[in-house]
């Protein structure tokens, strides 16, 4: 290699920033921004806003998603706890399995749940075509979120404080409530927000197991597809924009909440 003299600092013109930023902006515009702009442009808010079926689908979706997210807050934390603090045979397999809803295509998840909890259920549970079926499907697809956000935090948590509390006579519940929970709450919130955002948009897992009865078992994503099929993409777009604002808002809101909480050391 030939000897090189040191370059004069002020003269170096780097194209790296321009290229990386330019490429990223172009790619994002083409793939994400342009379609979303078209969506917003075509959204026929009036027709959707006066449609009871649209409003009902949104309400049902929001209700189910909030419930599912809250259930996962508890269940996900419990699962994370079991995976981190407990030791049992086959634990690593269980740990790997948590990601199954991430990896499994949503339509397969829907089929899978339909087979087990549909009309021909071998265990006699007939949740399909009811709100319970929807609930189960959403529970399935949101399972990993809280678990995976809480796990790393639990791993890092020093058990000293908990042991101290226990030796001072605190019950496990009090220890959990006073010592562990404040530390994992931001992680739980993140997981809950992501679970919520996923749940309100879920389609593949829901489309087979839902009865699609307007105002009873019709969720927003299915309503949107129905409107496209029925020839009203503008109305579908309006409901889509509402969904988008809600889930995006929740994600941004919780992110901000977390930053605030971390800063104030809650």
């Amino acid at each position: 290699m030939a000897a090189r003299s040191l370059p004069l600092p002020a003269r170096r013109v780097s194209v790296a920033p321009a290229l990386t930023i330019g490429f990223s902006v172009t790619y994002l515009s083409l793939i994400v921004l342009l379609p979303i702009a078209a969506l917003v442009w075509h959204a026929n808010t009036w027709s959707a806003g006066t449609n009871p079926e649209a409003i009902s689908a949104l309400r049902l979706t929001l209700f189910l998603s909030v419930v599912v997210a809250l259930v996962q807050a508890v269940a996900g934390t419990a699962v994370a706890w079991t995976l981190v603090r407990d030791r049992f045979f086959g634990q690593r397999v269980v740990d790997a399995l948590i990601d199954l809803p991430f990896a499994l295509p949503t339509i397969v998840a829907g089929l899978v749940l339909l087979v087990l909890y549909g009309p021909r259920s071998p265990v006699g549970v007939h949740a399909a075509f009811t709100r319970w079926g929807l609930f189960l499907a959403l529970l399935f697809v949101t399972l990993p979120f809280v678990v995976r956000t809480v796990q790393p935090v639990l791993l890092e948590l020093d058990t000293e404080l908990e042991d101290a509390a226990a030796s001072l006579g605190a019950s496990p519940l009090t220890t959990f409530r006073r010592i562990v929970l404040p530390n994992i709450l931001p992680a739980i919130l993140s997981g809950v927000a992501m679970a919520f955002a996923r749940a309100i948009g879920e389609f593949g897992a829901v489309v087979l197991i839902a009865g699609n009865l307007p105002l009873k078992t019709e969720v927003a994503s299915v309503y949107i597809v129905g409107q496209i099929g029925g020839g009203d993409p503008g109305g579908a777009a309006a409901v889509s924009v509402v969904l988008l604002c809600i889930s995006f808002g929740v994600l941004l809101g919780v992110g901000a909440l977390r930053r605030w909480a971390t800063r104030h050391d809650l």
Partner: protein, 256 residues
């Protein structure tokens, strides 16, 4: 107390995860391995598998390159609109897949701004839809790592005369490659299984625009339940394979 919690959580996981998936495997092979084999080697199924792999083979590398470049842009440079870019990258995670499909339908369909030739109901729109939904994963994995490693080493390399490309290859890449790998696996899993977005833009032309995921839905609708289960099992096996790779590559802080 510990046993109660363990029992409860394992029971919950069994009921929700293991039992349903296990049952589909059972149902797929219920009529014998021969029937299963026929179902996944029919012309429709083979084409669906090919199409799924083609779409993934385009979407994943594209999103990987973008992921690395965009992560670099977000972390290393200050520019107006960086916050917007960050938000846009996260947008696909907040979007329902059917909304993604709808937005493409509105953009490239009759009356759309880019209406035209052979995008909708053909491979291009299916690729675009898949790229859209699987966009964030590599970026989100790489950004925290880039933030963590800081710019000292890169600056040192640059002062010593390395070009940007050399710096990337010798200094940056070794630090981010596991994050990239994990992101690639997530992107691949998402691309292989995408259903909602593709269902809206594909037109379900059998033998032409049906991916494996669409085939599952279509077979179920045309009361070929066994065929649907067979295709589902194939996808599930791909998913489990991805799962295994994911588990191996998961960022070290999350495993023991």
């Amino acid at each position: 107390m510990r046993y109660a919690l363990r029992f409860a959580t394992l029971g919950y996981l069994f009921v929700l995860l293991v039992a349903p998936v296990g049952l589909v495997f059972y149902r797929a092979f219920e009529h014998g391995f021969g029937t299963f084999w026929d179902a996944i080697t029919s012309p429709d199924a083979i084409h669906a598998l090919k199409l799924t792999l083609i779409i993934t083979a385009i979407a994943v590398p594209a999103n990987t390159v973008f992921g690395i470049v965009c992560a670099l842009a977000i972390v290393r440079y200050r520019f107006p609109g960086a916050g917007v870019m960050n938000a846009l990258v996260d947008l696909p995670l907040a979007l329902s897949p059917v909304v993604v499909g709808l937005s493409l339908l509105l953009l490239y369909g009759r009356g759309g701004w880019l209406q035209g030739h052979n995008i909708l109901f053909a491979l291009p729109s299916m690729v675009l839809a898949t790229m859209f939904v699987s966009l964030p994963f590599v970026v989100r994995e790489v950004v925290p790592v880039l933030r963590e490693i800081g710019t000292e080493q890169e600056q040192a390399a640059s002062t010593l005369g390395a070009s940007a490309l050399q710096t990337f290859r010798r200094v940056t890449w070794p630090s981010i490659r596991w994050a990239v790998a994990y992101g690639v696996v997530l992107t691949t899993a998402r691309s292989l299984g995408e259903f909602g977005a593709v269902t809206v833009v594909s037109g379900s032309i059998s033998g032409r625009t049906e991916t494996l995921a669409l085939l599952v839905g279509d077979r179920y609708e045309q009361f070929d339940a066994t065929g649907a289960y067979a295709a589902a099992v194939l996808l599930a096996l791909l998913a489990i394979g991805t799962l295994l790779v994911m588990y191996r590559l998961r960022p070290k802080e999350e495993t023991r």
